[in-house]
Symmetry: C2
Subunit: 443 residues, 2 copies
C-alpha cells in the first residue's frame, strides 16, 4: 500500500483571505480586477505541487458593499483563464444548484474538463439567502432541507448527463462518414420533482468522466449529501477535536452508500499567518487586525449568523447564541456559537477571530509551527489534507510554497511532485465508468 | 470623416464550415476536441487583424448525431481559453435568452469582458426547437413572437445589470477602508412578465460597459429586435440583391429607435472556397461535395426547414416550399424557399448548395475573385463587413489571411492593423454610458 500523503488545495480569494488584506501595504488592490493576478496565483500553486486551486462564489452583492473588496470575475471563466497558463493543477469552481439549469452546469464543467485536460472540479453549494433568490425571479430561498433535496436531484441529473456519452462514442471514421456511434449516446429521460431533462448532453464525455465533486456544507443535511456525492469536502473547524469528530462522522457514513473511507478526502481550512520568527508573524497578525473596519466585520458576521449584531457594543462580551433556527450556513453558525460559548469573547475579539478566516483556523507563527499544525491534524484523524487560505496574496501563497512545503516534504507528508495529470489522479480518486458496459450486457 | 473600412469576423466551427470538412484529408478530426486548435484559430485571426472571432451554439444534440462532427466545448469557456492567448481580437459567444437566467448571463459576459480587456461580444439567440426546451424542464419552445418578447425583456434586464455599477464605483481607498462608493452601485428592481431581478450585479462595470450585442435573426421579429438592440448583425444571403434589401431595411429601422445608421454593422456570411487557380478551387469544392453524407445532409436541411425531406428522391427537383408556417429559423427558411423557386434544384443539388455554408453564399475561386465579391457587396450597400466562414480549418482561415487580406488592403478596403484595443473600438461603436450622471443630475 502506498504511503498516505497530504492533499493541498489553494483556496484563492482576491488579494488575500484576510478581510482587510487589500489595505495592507504588501498587496495591490488593483490586482483584484486583473486576470494576470489569478493566473500568477495558479502558477505559484502549480509550482508548489498543490493538488488544486479553488474559488468560492455567490450570486449577489454581499452585505457591506462599501468595505468589501470583491465582485469582478465569475469562477468558471476565471478558472478557464487559469487553465490556459497551467498544465497540472486542479481547478475547482463553486456553482450553486439553486440558480443554474443542470443542463448548462453539466456542460460548463465538461467544457472546463476538456479545456484543462481533466482538471475540473465542482464545489457544490445550495445557496441560502433571499437576496440571492431575488436575483432569480424568486421571492426567497427554499428552506435548508428543500435546498438539499433539490441538490440531490440536481446531482442525479448532472451525473447522468456526464454519462450520456460513452467514453468511446466518437469514431471519427472518415471512410464511412460516421463521426459518432449512436448506440453510445443516450437520452437520460429524467422526470423528477424539480427538473425534467431529456438529454443527451451536447458534449462528449470529458477526460475525468465526472469532474471532481466537492462539497463544503457541514450541517446534518450537508453531511448526508456529502456522504452520498462528495469526493472532497472543505470544512471549517476551530479545534482539532471538532475536526476529528467531523472526520470520523463523515467517513463513518460512507459505508452506508457502498463507498470506501478513502473515496472522500476531508480538507479543513487553515489560514497561515507566517513569519520567519514568532514575533514577525504576530506583528503581521496585529497589522491585519488593526486594518479591519469594525462596521464591515459586524455586517459580515451578522450575515453569516443570520441576525443583526450591529447594535452590540464592540467591547462587551456577546450573549450566548441560540441553539438552532437559522436558514443559512448552519454549520458555520454552530462553529461561531461554540466559539462564543468556549471563549466568551467581546464582539471586537470575535471579529478579530473571524476576520482572518471566517471561521477557519488561523495559525500565526513560523513555517515549523504551521507544519506542526498540519502534521498533527493529518496524522490524528482530523484531515486528509488542507484548504490553504493565505491571508495575503500572492505573498502568503509564495511564502507557504517556499517555506512550509519543504518542511512537509522533509517530513514525508507531501509528495515531491505530481504523479498524475488529472485532478482525480492528484486526489487518488477513481475515474467513474460511463455505465454503457452494464447496459450492453443487459441487452 | 474617416474612410469606411471593412469589418471582418472569423466565424469558427470545428475543423471547418463545410459539413464534410472533417472527412477531407487536409483537416485533422482529433483537433475538434483539442483546445489548442481553437487557440491557434484565434491567433491566426488576430495575426490577420480580424475584428473578432465567433462561435455559434445550441443546447441540444443535433439531428443526425451519427454523422455530425460537433459537441465538445461550450462557447464562453472556449472563448476564455482563446482570450488567454490573444490580446486584440474580439470574442463573440452565442448564448440563448431562453435557457439561462439573465443574472448569470450578465455576469459571464462581464467576466469575459474583464478577462479579455474589453473584447467580449454576445450573439443573442432565442432558440427554436422542442428538443432544446426538453433539456430545460419545458415540454416545448415558446412560439416565435413570444421568444422575441422574452428576449426583449431579457435584454432590458441584462443591460440594466451591466449598468448597476458606475464606471467609477471602485475607490479602493486603503486609508479609509472604503473599497466602493455605495452611491455608485444600484439595485435594478426589475419586475417584468418573465423575470423579476433585484440586482445589483455582483460584478464591477466591465471595460466595454456593455459587451458588444450581436444578433443573427433576419425574420420580421428578428429585424425589429435587431433595430432596437443589435450593434452587429450576422445574416445569410444568396444574392447581392437580397443582401442589399436586408441592409436597407435594417438600417432604415434604426432612426425609429433614435439610432444612427452607423450604430449597427451588417455582416453577411461568405464561405471562401479558395484555390490559386479557378480549377484548383473548383476541385476543392468538388472534393468537399463528394464527401457529403446525403442522409446526414437531408436530416440537417429537414431540421433547418422544420419538415421532413427524407422520403424525397435525391435526384428529383423539389416541390415549391410553403410560404410560411414554421416555428423555427424563419429567415433561413425563406432563403431556402427563394433558392428553390429561383433555381428549381434537385434535392442533391440543394444539399450541395447548403453543405458549404448552410445558406450563406459560397464563393469558389481565386483570392481575387473572393476579394471582388467582398468589394462588390461592401461598396454597393449590401454589407459593412463579412462573417468569414472558412470551409476547412485552420487551412482555409490561414489562406484567407495570407491571400485575400493583402488584396483587400491593397484596395484600401481593410485597415492595416488594429487601431484600438476593445471589440467596440474595432467595430467603431461607442461605449455605452453607465447612466449614473443622469441620475445624479436628477437628484
Amino acid at each position: 500500500m502506498s504511503v498516505r500523503r497530504l492533499h493541498l488545495n489553494a483556496f484563492l480569494m482576491g488579494v488575500g483571505h484576510h478581510e482587510a488584506a487589500w489595505r495592507h501595504p504588501v498587496t495591490d488592490p488593483a490586482r483584484l480586477g486583473d486576470v494576470r493576478h489569478y493566473q500568477e496565483l495558479a502558477r505559484i500553486a502549480e509550482a508548489g505541487g498543490f493538488d488544486s486551486v479553488f474559488l468560492a462564489d455567490g450570486v449577489q452583492v454581499w452585505g457591506d458593499v462599501e468595505h468589501t473588496a470583491a465582485h469582478v470575475f465569475e469562477p468558471l471563466t476565471l478558472l478557464t483563464a487559469m487553465a490556459a497558463v497551467t498544465s497540472r493543477v486542479g481547478l475547482i469552481a463553486t456553482v450553486s444548484t439553486g440558480y443554474s439549469e443542470p443542463y448548462n452546469l453539466a456542460r460548463w464543467f465538461a467544457s472546463l474538463d476538456h479545456i484543462s485536460g481533466g482538471r475540473a472540479g465542482w464545489n457544490i453549494v445550495t445557496t441560502a439567502g433571499d437576496r440571492s433568490a431575488q436575483n432569480f425571479s424568486l421571492p426567497g430561498a427554499p428552506d435548508h432541507a428543500e435546498r438539499y433535496e433539490r441538490a440531490d436531484e440536481y446531482l442525479r441529473v448532472v451525473t447522468a448527463l456526464w454519462d450520456s456519452w460513452a467514453d468511446d462514442a466518437v469514431l471519427a471514421d472518415r471512410e464511412t462518414g460516421r463521426f459518432v456511434d449512436p448506440a453510445k449516446v443516450r437520452e437520460i429521460g429524467h422526470e423528477g420533482r424539480f427538473h425534467r431533462v431529456r438529454g443527451p448532453l451536447n458534449s462528449t464525455r470529458s477526460p475525468q468522466g465526472h469532474p471532481l465533486l466537492v462539497q463544503a456544507g457541514s450541517s446534518e443535511d450537508g453531511k448526508a449529501f456529502a456522504a452520498r456525492w462528495a469526493e472532497a469536502v472543505f470544512t471549517a473547524h476551530q479545534t482539532v477535536e471538532s475536526a476529528r469528530k467531523f472526520y470520523a462522522d463523515l467517513k463513518g457514513r460512507l459505508a452506508g452508500h457502498g463507498r470506501g473511507a478513502d473515496s472522500v478526502k476531508v480538507l479543513p481550512g487553515v489560514v497561515p499567518v507566517l513569519g520567519s520568527t514568532e514575533e514577525e508573524a504576530n506583528r503581521l497578525a496585529r497589522e491585519l487586525d488593526e486594518l479591519i473596519v469594525p462596521a464591515r466585520a459586524v455586517a459580515q458576521v451578522s450575515e453569516m449568523l443570520g441576525f443583526d449584531l450591529s447594535g452590540h457594543p464592540l467591547d462587551r462580551p456577546l450573549p450566548p447564541l441560540p441553539v438552532t433556527g437559522v436558514n443559512g450556513a448552519q454549520s458555520r453558525f454552530a462553529l461561531v456559537r461554540d466559539l462564543v460559548e468556549r471563549e466568551n469573547p467581546t464582539l471586537r475579539e470575535l471579529l478579530s477571530r473571524l476576520g482572518g478566516g471566517r471561521g477557519h483556523t488561523v495559525v500565526v507563527g513560523t513555517p515549523e509551527r504551521i507544519a506542526d499544525h498540519i502534521e498533527l491534524w493529518f496524522t490524528t484523524g482530523a484531515a486528509d489534507g488542507f484548504n490553504v487560505m493565505a491571508p495575503l496574496l500572492p505573498s502568503g501563497l509564495t511564502e507557504f510554497v517556499d517555506t512550509v512545503l519543504p518542511i512537509l516534504r522533509r517530513r514525508g507528508l507531501f509528495r515531491d511532485d505530481y504523479t498524475g495529470t488529472t485532478l482525480r489522479e492528484h486526489y487518488g480518486l477513481a475515474r467513474p465508468a460511463d455505465g454503457f458496459a452494464d447496459l450492453a450486457s443487459a441487452v
